[in-house]
Symmetry: C2
Subunit: 396 residues, 2 copies
């Protein structure tokens, strides 16, 4: 199928023999140009880099996907190229008016040596929703998946094989028009880059401590809280710094209107485990119009239920959290997200005081759900949900 | 002082003979490298471009200022260079986590042929405040002014001479580290670019119509509303599109908590003119923790007072606006900002109905303040406030 010349050949997405392997239709001939103009890492160099325990998000694979959008042509020129810098006019719209969205997902090694992603459709859908909120052009779902697949196939040697390890994929879109008029850009770049990753938190699964911010808020309904947009993150860094100054690892956000209800932790969603009469119930804050509805959060709504726990989405206030830890009703709290999977929360500090959860230790529900989720992602457990999305076969 | 070779010479900021010319101390030897590696526009080409009535922010001068920040070196390598693209790794922090702030100010031709800016210190101060909110390294005030001055001096031929015309200056700072870890960048670029501009609104001073958004909000206290950061603008575009769909020119924001109090219009502040017993009072929304405190807004607090109007900063709700227009208490409403100076508002539309202000016509207070402000900026009226900041002398 491929030409002998590896420099600038037509790259055809390998369509799975069974269409139902994919959760959404892939165009039969979704062509992505392959432009490999730069030398790749040697096998030795790549192995050395992958063994170097680089911090999360600082080691990149050899390639990237790029595509351009203009009003006249729509999305076009999808290509896998060497990882190369963008050339940006100083007036490039993203520098001034911040139209930038992204997604985060992972490719996991499977026991048979194939590679699979997890619920890519959810990421593709949220990427569309984020684009709409930021007045950016939505990227068709099938091009989102085809881009992920093309990059993982090209850089398949960069996917670590260990349990809990993966290739972190970062699809993103930025405004590229050069103008200072305050209006949406008419030119955009879509790109996917990738990083081999181990565990997100350097200290492994030791529970994190959190600072509940009342000086800063993350988002408010009617704002951009439900979009995975760049500005939400820049807005959070000062609160994160304050958390560090308070001796805590992460910041916890309250609702912007009353400063009472728990929303999120840093860039992750939160789950609260209640124990009543020997029964366990897991509770996560209900969507408020400001909450980022994480894919892992959504996955756990189903998975926790199937593990025998009662599951609830509802409002939960800081007072209930504190009282629940004091009277033993709340036995565990954990945060969840694609990058860090599931992370226990051990200690809570706010302007009104400090308290521990489960004596600052990881709890059994947290550990069980984490293990269960990772086993499905790595193909070690059955996947009755069809969450795994095959990307690259054994022989590909 | 300058070497004969124009290619890469040391460029020393010309320090004004009287230090009090500047509102804040300029280092005696604040050196900015001058690297002019590309051909500039010919005089004819520049004149043709300046006469072409390019839309706001789409025609740029020949040069730019750039400087770099690293944790080890702090701010360094200030230079005036040809306007050239930045080379950005796809993981550049500003693309993913949105740390980006900017300012907008203008250089005005003076009657004697010299060039002056207006209240630059306010922009420098807000740039520091914006940086602090976004966990970015503040740029010292003196480097902010020196950069403005160096660029205007280099591109002085690009400053239009007409009344109401100016050179729009855009200082901005972006995060430049290549990483996907969610933390503040440790590398930043500061830059200043410039655009010759006429009137901001293409239809001149014909009053604008506004759509009061209740679906979207701009900011909430504890958020980033007081910072001039890129993310605030991206967040506003969808509401702006909605305004267009409603047949309006601009969006008006309500407070995020109650959706009642008026905050801003698009990227500009608002003023309401009340008439009572033949006396005029101008009222602008009080800082709420979410409002961007504009330099023009601040200037008018003083200028309107000195023009004999009573001035108030207070909460004003949409209901009061509507009722005031109905019963004749509110005779004019205008928006103000650096780019568009002062723009009358003629018509207001919301989900609850529509009403006109002053029969949709410009009012006398609006026109008087606009003329007065422009005359001070252009050096045609006395400046008892020391607002004008000389940048380039006649003989320079």
């Amino acid at each position: 199928m491929n030409s002998a010349i590896n420099k600038c050949i037509k790259y055809e997405i390998s369509v799975p023999s069974k269409e139902e392997m994919f959760m959404f239709p892939v165009p039969k001939l979704c062509s992505i140009e392959r432009k490999l103009s730069r030398l790749r890492c040697s096998d030795e160099e790549r192995q050395r880099l992958m063994a170097s325990h680089a911090p999360f998000g600082e080691l990149f694979t050899d390639h990237m996907v790029v595509a351009e959008y203009t009003k006249a042509e729509g999305w076009h020129d999808f290509a896998v190229t060497a990882l190369e810098p963008f050339s940006c006019h100083p007036a490039t719209s993203v520098f001034h008016y911040g139209q930038a969205i992204f997604e985060g997902l992972k490719a996991y090694s499977q026991p048979d040596g194939s590679l699979a992603a997890f619920r890519v459709e959810k990421n593709a859908e949220r990427f569309i929703a984020s684009a709409q909120r930021m007045a950016m052009p939505p990227l068709p779902k099938e091009m989102f998946l085809a881009s992920i697949q093309a990059l993982v196939e090209t850089d398949r040697k960069w996917v670590p094989a260990g349990f809990g390890e993966s290739l972190y994929l970062r699809p993103f879109m930025i405004a590229r028009e050069s103008l200072l008029g305050t209006r949406p850009s008419s030119v955009y770049t879509f790109s996917v880059i990738a990083c081999p990753v181990g565990n997100y938190f350097p200290n492994g699964l030791s529970p994190v401590s959190v600072w509940v911010s009342t000086d800063y808020v993350r988002a408010v309904r009617g704002g951009t809280g439900e979009a995975k947009c760049a500005g939400n993150y820049a807005a959070s860094f000062l609160a994160q710094q304050q958390a560090r100054e308070q001796g805590c690892d992460q910041v916890v956000w309250l609702d912007a209107i009353e400063l009472k209800a728990i929303e999120e932790m840093g860039g992750m969603n939160l789950y609260f485990v209640f124990s009543e009469n020997g029964k366990k119930k897991v509770v996560t804050p209900a969507p408020s119009g400001a909450l980022l509805k994480g894919v892992t959060r959504d996955t756990l709504l189903t998975l926790a239920g199937d593990c025998g726990y009662h599951v609830e989405e509802r409002r939960i206030e800081l007072d209930e959290w504190r009282d629940g830890c004091a009277n033993g009703r709340i036995s565990e709290v954990f945060a969840c997200g694609t990058a860090a999977v599931i992370t226990p929360v051990g200690r809570v500090k706010s302007a009104r005081g400090e308290f521990a959860i489960n004596d600052g230790k990881s709890g059994e529900v947290t550990m069980l759900l984490r293990e269960k989720l990772l086993r499905i992602q790595h193909g070690l457990d059955a996947d009755p949900y069809s969450w795994r999305v095959p990307l690259v076969g054994v022989g590909d």
